[in-house]
Symmetry: C4
């Protein structure tokens, strides 16, 4: 689930990660933009589709380079692959990159030294942003699979985004549903991730609300009026 | 998410907030009533519709005045806008006003000095009331969008209220579903808010139940029979 | 939400509650059985329907007597009504009686003095049993409303029970859905109660599982093999 | 819910359980494989179906032997049945065996003495694996009931697996739904178990995320850059 307990991280690797994190996140956003361009533009708009495809390939190459550099710097050799499971998965399925967004947050925070949000607010923000990005990626991927499939109920990207919303929140109306096998596998993945992430949002919000009400109690007894 | 950590609040602002809160909440309820009147009455009943519209505009003007006064009293100048995110959103989308209902509760409590409910009961009450008010607002807004749309399954306000119920609880039967883009955006907003609020209700109820059963344990050991 | 904080309870009232609880719960089960008999038997089977109706009326009379006795013994006079909200609701809508099942549990436990279940197991059992009884009551009530309604998808009691299952768990397939206004109001009530109760089951199960795994940790370090 | 509090377990029984656990789990997997073979192969492929049926019967016989040995070794006589509720249920409905998967985990861990996962990760892994296995079993059982039923929407095993996914996550689109009574009873069981298990996954993930973010806080204050 996490690449946290990897023992003492070599200094060079740490420095690389610190400096590479922001560029890599920008690359992730470019990857997503390129994929969106590729999926959403008309079949006739060759130019835009080619641009999208180029962005996807170029950023993917960057991810491979980063993975290679970290594998080298870690000094772990082939043992790097099993101990960095999330990194490996994310290399093969770059649409899951949002799962690493927490890293950027930390990197940005460390640099700016701004007062941080409260613990619950941060977990909500992280889980919420990740859920939205995953939902957008899933909506794109499902749209690519489903448009044109016989008997599908997902005809426009709007339908696909609506489907992603109803799935992430587990409402599941059933008015827009994937029918192709690949679409359904993507949907199952979104359900699993979405459930866990939204559970985290819900749980943190609940804890945060309790905290606010409790703090209020402590403030008022001294008699405010 | 919150306008809590805004540093030392000037005394004048605090006093304004204390005295304005109850009138503003009444204004919020009038706003909702006016909007309901506008949406639910027949197209022919010009008089009622005009009354509703007037209520909506008058109360909205009040909200603008309140926002302006608080911006002025805070002494923050334009910095007030980003640091009071929820206030600004609520000014632009007054249907979200219920999210501030917690303020009224505090104000009323402080004045009456009645014994308060337990912490969990208060969180449940707050989240529950907010969810019901948001659900009612969403049902009105979706009904306004959907009635008359081709192929819609929301034909009466009853359908719309039923849709809001099934959405807030994430049951999502799918027998009444918005089909227009605006309707779906409102629905997505309701899902996001509803999920968090109902998660808070559920979590508090669960904690409250555990507390009740635990207390019972402590009471009985001394041998009651 | 609860009739807990009613101040010092007179001794006579306490004794009445202790002795009346088990008979009243049996009466509740008879009420449910009578209602089921009334709803589920054929229109031609006059005898059974009459028996069901008689049971319903007789047990309801018992509930009224109990309420009256407790109102009298409490010495609160008319103030009894607002401070015992749940009792009053349950008197008017006896199908909600399962919500008081926790009382019986306590009464039985106190008498038998058996080793109790763990805290989480008890909350799960209480919330689970309440949810099942409420689901059964709702299935009966919805079936009574919906059978025969034009365009309904709930034609047999099996459909109604299936609907109650999918609603309580918030799955909501939408293949069996109430269409009459009264049916939908009952459904909304079931959603609200079911969500809170099942949230309590889920939360307790989760806490219980964590407890079991944690205990396991503590047991094993001393080296078991 | 659990066979934990059964008092002092005889040493012989403990030793039996320690050595029998892994073979029994392999038998459970073989049972599932045999059942899958029986359900999924064509009606004409007599040979494969017979092999599946043989596997099912042979492994079931093993479960009966294990139950008998444990009943004997426990020295409890007939009192073993009520105090080992889960064991008894699992003997009669071997498809529920995954619920005991936690045992294997413990057994394997105790032998290998590898550093264990964190508490939350273990609960997530246990609940997640159990949910997946139960979902697979339910998909097989529902497929066996539904294929060929008139008016069913579950025609292939793919539909059934998709139905299990949408049910376990409580999304419930309603595009694939059991219509036979037995199929619906299996579905209700899956909903009940799935809800509790996924609640545990969600809750643990939420707690784990909070823990990770909290740890991060503690790490950084000393000034990392």
């Amino acid at each position: 689930m996490s690449d946290l307990p990897t023992g003492p991280v070599p200094d060079r690797l740490r420095r690389w990660e610190l400096y590479a994190e922001v560029p890599l996140l920008l690359a992730s956003l470019l990857f997503l933009a390129g994929y969106a361009l590729f999926v959403l533009t008309d079949h006739d708009a060759r130019l835009w589709r080619d641009l999208g495809l180029t962005l996807v390939c170029a950023t993917w190459a960057l991810f491979v380079v980063d993975y290679g550099v970290r594998l080298h710097l870690s000094g772990l050799g082939p043992r790097f692959v099993p101990t960095h499971g999330l990194d490996t998965v994310v290399l093969l399925l770059p649409l899951l990159r949002p799962l690493r967004v927490v890293r950027l947050y930390t990197a940005v925070q460390t640099r700016r030294d701004r007062p941080r949000l409260s613990l619950y607010a941060r977990v909500m923000a992280y889980a919420g942003v990740t859920a939205v990005l995953l939902g957008f990626s899933a909506a794109l991927a499902v749209y690519q699979q489903e448009r044109g499939a016989p008997g599908t109920s997902i005809r426009t990207f709007g339908d696909s985004a609506w489907w992603a919303c109803t799935t992430l929140t587990t409402v599941g109306y059933g008015d827009a549903v994937p029918v192709t096998p690949v679409g359904r596998i993507i949907a199952a993945g979104l359900m699993a991730c979405g459930l866990a992430l939204l559970g985290a949002v819900t749980g943190s919000f609940s804890s945060w609300l309790l905290q606010v009400f409790r703090r209020e109690d402590e403030k008022e007894p001294p008699g405010d009026v």
